[in-house]
Structure formats: C-alpha cells, structure tokens
Amino acid sequence: MNSIDPVILFFLFGLVAGLLRSELKLPSALYDSLSIFLLLAIGLKGGQGLATQPLGPLLPQLLAVVVLGVVQTLIAFGALRAIFRFDRPNAAATAAHYGSVSVATFAVAAAWLSSRSIDVEPQMAILLAVMEIPAILVGIVLARGVSKDTDWRSLGHEAFLGKGVTLLLGGMAIGWAAGPEGLQPIKIMYFDLFKAVLALFLLEMGLIVSRQVDELKRRGLSLIAFGLAMPLLSACLGLGTGMMLGFSVGGMTMLATLAASASYIAVPAAMRIAVPEANPAVSLAGSLGVTFPFNILAGIPLYHWMATQLTGATP
C-alpha cells in the first residue's frame, strides 16, 4: 500500500493552516527562491535527458503542444462565454490561465511518477516551457481582438523572457550541454533535494490556495464547476495528443497533467497588464482554488489510470 506522498501532506498542511488563519507565512524571498530552484531543476533534468537522444522528433511534438494550448484556450473561452456567462475580458483572461500550464502541478506529477519508477520522456520540460506561451497570446487576441495598438513586442518579451520560461530553457540548455556526467557534482542539490524543496513550496501553495476560498464563496458553484470540468476535458485532449505522438504511459500522463493544469504565475502577470478589465481574483480562484488542488490530489492518479487504459498497459 502506498502511504500519502509527503509532498501532498505539505500542501494539505499549508491549506489547513491557512484556513485556520494561522500566523504561518513564508518570507517572500524564500518562496521566490524555491520557485527558481524548481524551475532550474526541472530544466536541468529535462536537458540532461535530451543530451542522450536525437532532437529530430522534437519539432512535431512542439507543434502539437502549441496547437493543444491554443485549442484548450479557445474551448475554455467558448465555454466561459456561452455556459458560464463571463464577460469578454474575464472569459479571455481565465481561458488563458487554463490554456497554459502550471509548473507546480508538473513538479508534483514528476515526483508522483518517479516515486513509482514510471519513466517519462525527457523533453517534457521543454514542452512545459513551450506550453506556457500560446495561451497568453490567444487570450489577448480574444480579449481585445487584433488591433494596431497591441504592443506585440513587449508582449512577446513578457511571454518569452518571463522568469519561468527563462529558467526552464536555461536549465535545459545547461543540462543538455553538461550531460549526465557533467551534472554529477551538482546532482545532489538539484535532483536529490528536489522532492524536499517541492514539499516546502507546496506548503506555501497551500497557504495561497487557502486565500482563494473567500472569492470562491462569492462566485458560487459555477467557478467550481468550470474548475473541475475544464481539466478533465483538457486531460483527455492531452492524452489523445500524447497517444498520437507515441508517448509512453508516463509521457501521456504527464502531457495530460500539463494540459489539465492551469497557470497561476506567468499568465496572471501577463493578463494583468494586457487585459486590465479582467478581475484577476476570478481566474486565480478557479486556477488556484479549484483546479490546482483537484489536479494534485485526484487528477494525476486519474490521468495515469486513463493512460494505462488507453495504451492497454498493466498499471
């Protein structure tokens, strides 16, 4: 029998402490440092994997996940407008969150799979980095249409040179250039401590999620419904894409998780500037308050089970 993963327990601890209004809080420099560490470590791990295989097959995969991101954003936008009656800016901003990805969710899935010794294609880290971006651009176009005074240059800058993408790509480049052997002397920190650092990060995530509860109450059931339905739909799209690309069970699970996950760092920051009329509290209550906990508590095992069913593998 598997006991509950301590990483999840840290999250639940943060959540409960937050709901009980404990005085616990992490210094914001610690939170920033932990997230820099996680992004770098994910990048390094992926890059080191890439170093041992040809890069050729990567291109169609990159294309596929860009399409996946765009499709997800459009579906989410349609649903939010038609079914959930969101106004245009809020629908567009929220859709962008769901079309993009969450690094913390990715990290939890990576830890979940590795603790079960399930292999994952190494290029997942690069797909993670790439999937952050298209939803942002689509979201902006959905909110504003394509107009002359869209400042595409600074949007592109924001999207491609934001902290998250920079660290993921930089980490990958380092991992790829150094290779498994070169990384040996720094392995103990970036790989062996990964799960423990992730645990501490999730403690803070729990605290942050607990602060979304008020907004959720205010919005009622519709946001919760969307926040549960959308990841399920996206996971199916992700599983299909993974299957099409010939991924392993681990890779399919990961791609489903990526698709199901909703951004809460890069996208909110970009939307705040690009779609000022959208209320950030709404998108975050959905993405952080509903979808993130759902994914890490129930989604990942579910997507893995679906992947094994689809491929006919024995779980």
Binding site: S28, E204, I208, R272, P276, L284
Partner: protein, 103 residues
Amino acid sequence: MIPIQTEKRTLLTVFTEATLEHVLIKDIDRLGIRGYTICDARGKGSRGVRDATWDESKNIRIEIICARPQAETLLAHLQERYYSNYAMVACLSEVEVLRPGKF
C-alpha cells in the same frame, strides 16, 4: 552658515500593484520625468487586502519629485489609464528641494 535656499516642488506618491512597476516606469520615462524612488509595500484599499504574501498581492510605493505641472500630467494619466482597473491610490504634496534645476 548662510541660510539654505530651497525651492518648492511637488511630490507625487503612488500606491499600487507591483505588477505595474515596469509599465509605470515606462510611463514616467516617456513623460520626461527624471527621477523616482520605489519601495515595496503592502496595504488595504477598496480592492481589498494586498498583503504581499505572493506576487499577485504585492504593492509598491512610488515617489516622484517634480514640478507641479508634470506631477499633474502624470496624475491625470494615471487616473485615466489605471484608476478604474487597478488597485491604485495617488496623492500630491508640497516639498522643498535644493538644486531645483534637477527636478
């Protein structure tokens, strides 16, 4: 000691979301204002408590010393562009500076 010669300038103080920092700096530069100072902050206003526990809830506090007309131009710009959609409060006050040519 000779009494020091000060001249009046206007201090514009802006309390707002940290996400806007880059954007506002560009605005300030574009208006030809030559200096500013920024501190990290947290607070509460009509858009609720912003307690700086994570990126989305961080505030900043910008101070700009300049001539009254410039301060008014910037303030009007802030009002028009940001007041309705962002957590933002701004106020003007009077200060005395040496080296008036600098501001």
